[in-house]
């Protein structure tokens, strides 16, 4: 039994509130997170996805289209996303049909996920993103690549092979640059990994 539509939307809004730092607003935190276009983009995706899985394809296409026009956020209704998805800035986010996102995934601006679209059949398939992963701006993941739980994909990285859990990956193609420690923020983790500087806020 999958969770109800309302509880999934609630989990998404809670995730947005955590991302945008509005959960301090108490009972109004979910309303506050609606000040961010990312929260609206996730809700539109959930609506499109719900309609898609109930077989109402033309309607789901319409909502998907609206999301692309309004927020420049091109997330296919056929994306399989666990509850707690948060999109930081929706402009340029593209996620292809069938991509699997774990619980509590954070997607930042211009992230691109999906099939590799190639004649090489070994590259058929779509990415699978683990729970609690953070995909920073411009991360690109194509083909059957899995990202371990809680890992961070750094800015403008292209991931072409599987990534273990609890690490920071960066580069083109991406390689592991360091562990992700539970206590640190993504900015700190990326900085520590990229510059070898473990100090900082």
């Amino acid at each position: 039994m999958s969770p109800s539509f309302g509880s999934v939307c609630r989990a998404d809004l809670m995730a947005s509130a955590r991302l945008f730092g509005t959960e301090a607003a108490g009972r109004w935190c979910l309303m506050r997170s609606l000040r961010h276009p990312g929260a609206w983009a996730v809700l539109l995706f959930r609506l499109a996805s719900g309609l898609h899985h109930r077989g109402l394809r033309p309607l789901s296409r319409l909502i998907y289209f609206a999301n692309a026009v309004l927020f420049h956020c091109d997330v296919a209704p056929g994306v399989v996303a666990a509850p707690g998805l948060a999109i930081g800035h929706p402009a340029g986010v593209t996620i292809g049909h069938g991509t699997r996102l774990g619980a509590g995934v954070v997607v930042m601006q211009a992230v691109s996920l999906g099939g590799a679209g190639t004649e090489d059949r070994s590259l058929d398939g779509v990415p699978e993103i683990g729970d609690g992963c953070i995909l920073l701006d411009g991360a690109r993941i194509f083909g059957p690549v899995s990202i371990g739980d809680r890992s961070i994909v750094s800015v403008n990285s292209w991931v072409n092979r599987d990534v273990p859990a609890d690490v920071v990956v960066a580069g083109w193609p991406a390689r592991v640059v360091g562990p992700r420690l539970a206590s640190e923020s993504p900015a700190t983790a990326v900085r520590a990994g990229r510059t070898g500087d473990a100090s900082g806020p």
């Binding site: 955590r18 991302l19 945008f20 730092g21 609606l34 000040r35 276009p37 609206w40 026009v69 309004l70 927020f71 420049h72 930081g88 800035h89 929706p90 402009a91 340029g92 954070v106 930042m108 601006q109 211009a110 953070i134 920073l136 701006d137 411009g138 750094s154 800015v155 403008n156 960066a170 580069g171 923020s185 993504p186 900015a187 700190t188 990326v190 900085r191 990229r194 510059t195 500087d197 900082g200 806020p201």
Partner: protein, 189 residues
């Protein structure tokens, strides 16, 4: 009544400074009618004007209308500007598609090209020490991401640079992570 000298020094509207800076970038005479028409026919001008409207509404305590203007900016131009961002006058966003300014501080007379982002890396706490700062007179080329740290005044960031720590003033910095390449030479722009 202020002395005339003081009056001329009084800052004009930030939006006016933005249009003047854009006209300068585009080589239009400003403030002339021709220059104004030139500038207002660019999406760059309207995206920044909408940013100023949203910021003014936010300062006036009108959060919901500010959010609506922000959403309109995103729908029309693909530019996502947090109304709470502290942006100095003379901002130029040459190609607004994909440009994002989060809850960060941006100085005066800053130019941004396409797909630039200034904001924390999913830090979740606006105003924390992790929130980035861009100094006065910086020039950020296409695809620059400023995720953390302070970019000194007058810095040029080359295309695709990723800033995760402080950059000294008056320098040219490139790469991922961004490192200073050489000092900025003003006559070369």
């Amino acid at each position: 009544m202020l002395p005339a000298r003081e009056m001329t020094r009084r800052p004009r509207w930030a939006a006016w400074e933005d249009l003047a800076a854009l006209a300068e970038l585009k080589g239009s005479a400003f403030p002339t009618a021709q220059g104004l028409v030139d500038v207002l026919l660019l999406p760059a001008a309207w995206a920044v004007l909408l940013l100023r409207v949203a910021a003014a509404l936010q300062r006036a305590g009108l959060g919901a209308p500010a959010t609506l203007v922000r959403l309109a900016n995103l729908a029309l131009f693909g530019a996502d500007f947090d109304p709470r961002a502290e942006v100095g006058p003379g901002l130029v966003v040459a190609h607004p598609a994909g440009v994002t300014i989060g809850h960060a501080r941006v100085g005066s007379r800053v130019s941004l090209m396409g797909s630039v982002r200034v904001g924390g890396a999913a830090s979740g706490r606006p105003g924390t020490p992790g929130a980035p700062v861009v100094g006065d007179g910086c020039f950020l080329m296409a695809g620059v991401k400023v995720l953390a740290g302070t970019v000194g005044s007058g810095v040029v960031l080359g295309a695709g640079a990723v800033v995760v720590s402080d950059i000294a003033p008056e320098a040219v910095a490139i790469g991922d992570p961004a490192r200073v390449l050489r000092p900025r030479q003003r006559d070369q722009g």
